[in-house]
Amino acid sequence: MTLANFNAPVARREALDSRREQLARMMEIRAVEERIQRLYSEGEIRGSTHLANGQEAVAVGVARATRADDVVTCTYRGHGHALALGATPLQVIAEICGRESGAAGGVGGSMHLMEPSVGLLPTFAIVGAGLPVACGAALAARTRGTDNIAVAIFGDGSTNIGAFHESMNFAAIRRLPMLFVCENNLYGEYTRIEKSTPVTDLAVRAASYAMPSAIVDGQDVDAVAEAVATAAARARAGDGPTFIEMKTYRYSGHSRSDPATYRPAGELAEWQKRDPIDILAARLVGEGAIGSGEVADLRAATAAGIEEAAQAALASAHPSPDAILSHVTAASPGESNRWNFWSKSTSGGRPTGTPPSATR
């Protein structure tokens, strides 16, 4: 089962240079999330799953403004980021359905997507845990003399956990080449931000670390990309980390079948008026980058592609029982295929001769 080609994730990342692909990728994320919601209802998904529809502009904006050999840590709400960074719909859907062709071979599930070839570490299921790890990636980049950066992506609720504070401080004091990207979608689980957090703009928290910060319209992919590009350039130049607050919104509930009845009436509708896909579509039509009739076609084509990926995922094999005991330590069964970030000898960080995982 090799739907994705050899270089699919990196190629998909690089394709984001195209305006049209940016729009298509946002549509793809939306379609994947909607399909996953259905797969959940259909009983194909175990445990929990967290959708990010409504937040597509953040995912695509970050991916477009960073490089495939940068490192990204994000959370269980990571389907969109995985797709934007370059993981294929098959990898994502298959993982969430526990298939061997999934991004983690089916042992991780919805909360643990990853794709090393485009820098995505296994998404973090413990709130706050990805931030210190991103600091470490940034530290390694600097120590190893590359100009790579690390990007930590996390939610508004995560800014109340200790690891956030420790990471911001550590990154600031060591001027690490990294970005803190906070997706402020107004909710942490079922709790609205004002019930858990005494400040409205989380960007004010950067001042505790003398760290530059920005507040960005997270529904506008161009605004996201611009802010990320600026901060990334600063980080690469050795000028340290930046905190970027993306004001955004998740259309779905927190997880699984959460109907999100705790939201004030009309809030969702209000945000949907500024739908990130619509905003970009309108802009591209305005720019003449895409014909106005093409938007619906692109959407339909994307949906069809995702349906194909979903069917392929469901038709693909469950992991073999060997997977249970493999890759626990280096002494366990399982082919040794460590990803070498920034290895000098290869392009894109892939060590020579190692088959990329994306082809499973």
């Binding site: 445990g47 299921a125 609720g157 942490g188 689980e189």
Partner: protein, 335 residues
Amino acid sequence: MALMRMRQAVLKALDDAMAADGDVVLMGEDIGDAGGAFKCTEGLIGKYGRDRVIDTPISEMGFMGAAVGAAICGLKPVVEMMFIEFAGVALDQLTTEAATMRYLSRGRLTVPMVMRASAGAGQGFACQHSQMLDHWFRGTPGLKVCVPSGARTAYGLLRAAIDDPDPVIVLEPRILYGEREEFDGDPAFRIALGSAEITRPGRDATLVTAGAMLKVALAAADKTNADVEVIDMLSLAPWDRKTVAASVARTGRLITLEEAPAGTGWGGDVVAAITSDAFGALKAPPHRITLPDAPIPYSGALEKLYLPDPEYVTAQIDALVRNGRAPAAWWKEAS
């Protein structure tokens, strides 16, 4: 007698305890307005108000410590830890602060708090949301740990934990929240911390287990030709050495069924102690049935293989009773 789901029993225990004692307060993420991620606190905020049902930010170290301080100062906080793994960002407050407070203060400052957490595998929450992790707490001087196996024991243990003058950790097997069991809901019902129950009497072997594994143990005991006594540990610290030792003295065989890899499971301590107590009575080497030394897989196909099922346990018991020796664990044969 009515059937009750375990989550209802937990809710009733909290409700009854709060009604009986105004010092009992709840703390945790989304336990108030949302009623808890597993609905174990549903409706309590309406009944007892925001000062007694406290929705916290995502700050486990913070609110765990707040529970310690509140307990010292006269409240009886019951903290909900949504998944026990999250205690990994809050451990210090339980194992280092709460556990030593009475000792350091020579009895003057005490910490009558409870941390209840959902725990365990079987539902595809994957390796960072599926462990029991009792070993983080078990054996720490000053801490108690218990694990219910259904609605009745969930009620009895949780009420006892809230009554207890010291910190108690209750690990609620998440997979049992929706399971129903006969329980009359008697508000006076308690299970003494530190005492086990003989769930099924038998003469050929003692099968000691806890939590969600009880059901597997009972099914295996039904299947095997041997006459197996099944003991539900209920408390992992302190644990009921007397009951287990007396049973093994009768049966001559000890088997543990633990939802943990061997290196972290409670069975090591139990086997060592009982071997010492009942050495002369042993007809076969004590035997532990554990999880393999590997994280818990997400895939349903794999998780089913990963967890012991009644067939596997039956085969292990049969062999031990018949041959005086259990076969190697499946993963040892496999690898």
